[in-house]
Subunit: 112 residues, 2 copies
DNA sequence: TTTTATGCATAAGAAAATTAGGTATATTTG
DNA sequence: CAAATATACCTAATTTTCTTATGCATAAAA
């Protein structure tokens, strides 16, 4: 994370959302995809990403599958059933956060 | 914070935004105003709020004025000049975060 | 041949919350 | 009147989630 500030707590939601698209992904791939999708605005640091992936795995939201490609290891992650449900929750939570904070920084005069 | 999840890092922005409206405010008033503006969705905890106010003051973004009203103390906070500038920065930062993360959770197919 | 890219990882520290208290006065309610 | 709730401040311990700084290894590019 460097250019655009990433509010703490949103990384997990990003990971779950990307994996909810259906395809399994490995860590490095996630950093590159986020960079591309945000036109370089958001850079996921490895120091944040890998511990986050390990925690999601430990919590039973992700399954891992190790593969060797071009003589280098890749750890492919995919959502478990629990992870699929949690991805829905996290996305709703994010939407609600955005609506809520918009209500403060861009309020309707009647409630200000 | 309890109902809607507050992403870590947004509290300072909320405080600065409310004070940027012009009127000085005291801590308890901020918690009540946020509750009202978000229809109870967002509850600022005192354990987060007061340390945040103290830090903003220590950083020279807020000025304090203590008043006794109904035999109870109130600490009124208002933006310094530096605080006014920072409130603009923080709001831009928040807008950018929202746009950026919308680009991930609600992507244009061309970039996905 | 040195740098950059790919791919994983962890450890120390900082930031910013949560949780759980504490003090005190004023008002409302049973 | 007593007890609960609202108003108003505070802090300390802990947890969560990052950043920063490393480390290792292979492949490709400069």
């Amino acid at each position: 994370m460097s250019n655009a500030k990433l509010y703490k707590g949103s990384l997990t939601t990003i990971i779950l959302k990307l994996l909810a698209e259906g395809d399994k992904m490995y860590g490095y791939e996630i950093t590159q995809k986020v960079k591309k999708m945000t036109q370089g605005e958001l850079k996921i640091t490895e120091g944040a990403l890998y511990p986050a992936l390990h925690k999601l795995e430990a919590d039973g939201l992700l399954d891992v599958e190790v593969k060797k490609v071009d003589n280098r290891l890749r750890k492919y992650y995919k959502l478990t059933e629990k992870g699929t449900k949690e991805s829905v929750n996290k996305l709703e939570e994010l939407e609600r956060f955005i609506e809520t904070i918009q209500g403060i920084v861009n309020p309707k005069p009647s409630l200000g």
